[in-house]
Structure formats: C-alpha cells, structure tokens
Amino acid sequence: MAHESVGLIFVSTLLANNFVLAMFLGLCPFLGVSGRLGTAFPMGVATTFVMLVASLCAYGLNLLLSYFQLDFLRLISYIVVIASSVQLVEMVLKKYSPALFRALGIYLPLITTNCAVLGVALFQTAREYNFTQSLAFSFGGGAGFTLALVLMASLRERLQLANVPTLVQGTALSLILAGLLSLSFMGFAGLGGGE
C-alpha cells in the first residue's frame, strides 16, 4: 500500500474514496452545515486546514511514539493535537473574519469531533504513508470533503424551491440526497487503482 504515487493518493481520496460519500467520515458537519453555499465552502476550507495541520503533527508524533514504544498513547495524543489546532483556527477566524465566525457557530469547535480529521491521522498511520504521501492524503481528503459539502449545499439550495411533502423534509431528505450523490460518486470507483 505504501508505495502509491502522490498524485494517485490525491485523486483517489478526492473522488473514488471520497471521505464523506464513500467512507462515511465527517457526516455531522456534512448534514449540519450544508444548508447554505456561503457557509459550506468556508467550513470546508477550515476543515481542510485543520486536517493538514493534524496530519503533519500526527506524522511527527507517530515517529516519536514508535521511537519510545508508546503506541498505546497514539489515540490520546492525536486527539489532543487536533483539539489544539481547532482552537488555533478558531482564534484566527475570530480575529480576521468575525462574520464567518458567527455563521459557522457551534460547528467550528465541533471540527474537533469531526471523524474525518481523526480519520486522516488514523488511516495514514495504518497505511504507513511517508511524509509527502500523508500530505497528499490529507489535502485530498480535505478537498474531497469541501467538494462534497459544496455539492450538497448547492443541491439543498435548489431544493428550497421544490415542493416536498412535509413528512420527508429535514434529515430524511438530506440523507436520500446524500445517497444519490454517493451513488454518482461510485462512478469514479476504480479511478486511481481502487483496492
């Protein structure tokens, strides 16, 4: 697994193994923040940034932990690193873009509990990616998350004009939409080598 090229990893995490639609990572923000295009895109960018930071730190941490043979501390240290980088993003956003900060609301601190971020760190360890591969993996994952979020938000904006039965409205509708989106992303399967 560990000798895939960087480009291959990027394309396959972006499309064929899209984090949200094929691997079910990061569904909470995917369903929560995808109501409007204006918040979906910044949310995607913020998450991508956190992913990159987390992936870099996880790579360094993993070297350190395996050197000292402290593998059982891996999960705990990863989550602490992620929590701190989310804090960093939160402070930066609050300073430079208060409007966006308010729009993202509760979902910003919730990036900490976004499985996609921890997923990046865990999967790159499990697959024994090297430094550049990890970087490509996390960037592809983040870009894929942003892509899915933006597509979903556009769909949901269009749906506001549609006449939907009251019973179906809400989460059930979003899930069925996500299912259709995921079905279309399956068309990319095999792109980038698959298994």
Binding site: C28, T112, T171, A172
Partner: protein, 211 residues
C-alpha cells in the same frame, strides 16, 4: 434543552427510556452518524459496534460524573475527551485480543468512537450535572438505543444486500441480492428510509394528542 443547575436527581424509568425511545440517538437526534453508516453492512458488525460504544459511553459517563465537581469549567471538554480516548484505547486492545476478524472488519472505526458525538454530548449534557448512578443509567439507555438503531440498520442492509441475517441465508438461492444496499449509497438510503418510518410513526400519535 438547557438543564438548570439544581437538576432533579431522582431516578425514574424515564432516565433509562429517554435514550431508548424519546431521544433515540440514531432515529431522533441523528447523532454519531459516521460509525452508524460505516459499520452497518452486516448485523453482527452493527451489534458489536453498538456494544463497544455502549461500554465506552457508560464507563466514561461514570468517571466524568464522579469527578464533575473537581474539573474546572474551562478545561472540561479537553478532560472529557482524554477520558473518552482512554476508554476507547482499552476497547480497541480488548477487541483485538478477543476477535481479530471483528477487529479487521471494524477497522479504524473502533478508534473513531472517540469522536462519536453521542458520547461527548452525553458527557456534557448529562454526566457533568448528575450523580454517578443516574448518569450511568442514562448512558446505558442511550447505549441501548444506539445499539438498537445500529442493529435495525445493519439487519436491514444485510437482508436486502446479501439475503442473509447473521450469515444465515433467508431467501434460498434464487434471491437476487440488492448489492447497492451494502455499498455506501445504501447506507444513506436505508437510514433515510428508517427516518421516514419514524417520522410517520410519530406524526400519527401527535394528531391524537399522545406524547
């Protein structure tokens, strides 16, 4: 729903049933979606994931509730998440020791229990404000509710997608498996279907004035 500081400490049946039915984490609150959809390709995977999550939920709620008056308010989330991560590491090693096959089937999703919103949500909303016994009962209810939800999903997907339940063939060999149901889109469709069913069930008593 914000609970007052001086919350009612009496334990009623509702403490347990809240998580099973009224606030079922899968069907009503739609929390913890990632493990819900990712591991429910078969009934047995779903059931083991539910049990593992319940264990982490109950033990971390017990510990958090016991130290709730010692932890400063500013660092509580960080404390909770470290406690949860500790228990998850425990479960991770436990499953690895008991069944390697199951460990490979669930993969990274065991470790991803850490970021399951249900656990942090319970810790913050309930365990940090109530005495240990009550939190444990409430957490147990939530865990049971989550397991039921996972099982409903996993069972449906296994029956439709493979024609099996717990690996036992149900329909004979002429059944054409509905393969899409065990693939990622099927997860979304089945959960959407269950949510619709629940919305339908709840909309009926509402017109009759039930709760």
């Amino acid at each position: 729903m914000s609970l007052p500081e001086q919350a009612d400490d009496s334990i009623t049946l509702d403490t347990f049933l809240e998580g099973v039915w009224r606030q079922n984490p899968v069907f009503v609150m739609v929390l913890g979606m990632c493990p819900t959809l990712a591991v429910t390709v078969s009934a047995i995977n779903a059931l083991s994931m539910g049990v593992a999550t319940t264990f982490v939920l109950v033990s971390s709620c017990l510990l958090i509730s016991m130290i709730r008056n010692l932890v400063p308010k500013e660092v509580r989330i960080a404390t909770y998440i470290v406690i949860i991560a500790t228990f998850v590491t425990l479960v991770d090693y436990l499953i690895q020791a008991v069944s390697l096959k199951l460990y490979e089937a669930l993969g990274a999703f065991i470790q991803l229990i850490v970021v399951n919103c249900i656990i942090l949500g319970r810790a913050e909303a309930h365990a940090s404000k109530h005495p240990p016994l009550k939190s444990v009962i409430n957490a147990l209810g939530m865990g049971v509710g989550f397991t039921i939800g996972l099982f409903a999903l996993g069972g449906t997907r296994e029956i439709l997608g493979a024609g099996n339940l717990f690996g036992i063939s149900l329909f004979g060999e002429h059944f054409q498996p509905w393969v899409v149901m065990v693939l990622p889109p099927g997860g979304f469709f089945v959960l959407g279907g269950w949510l619709l069913l629940f919305a339908l069930l709840r909309s009926k008593p509402a017109t009759e004035g039930g709760h």
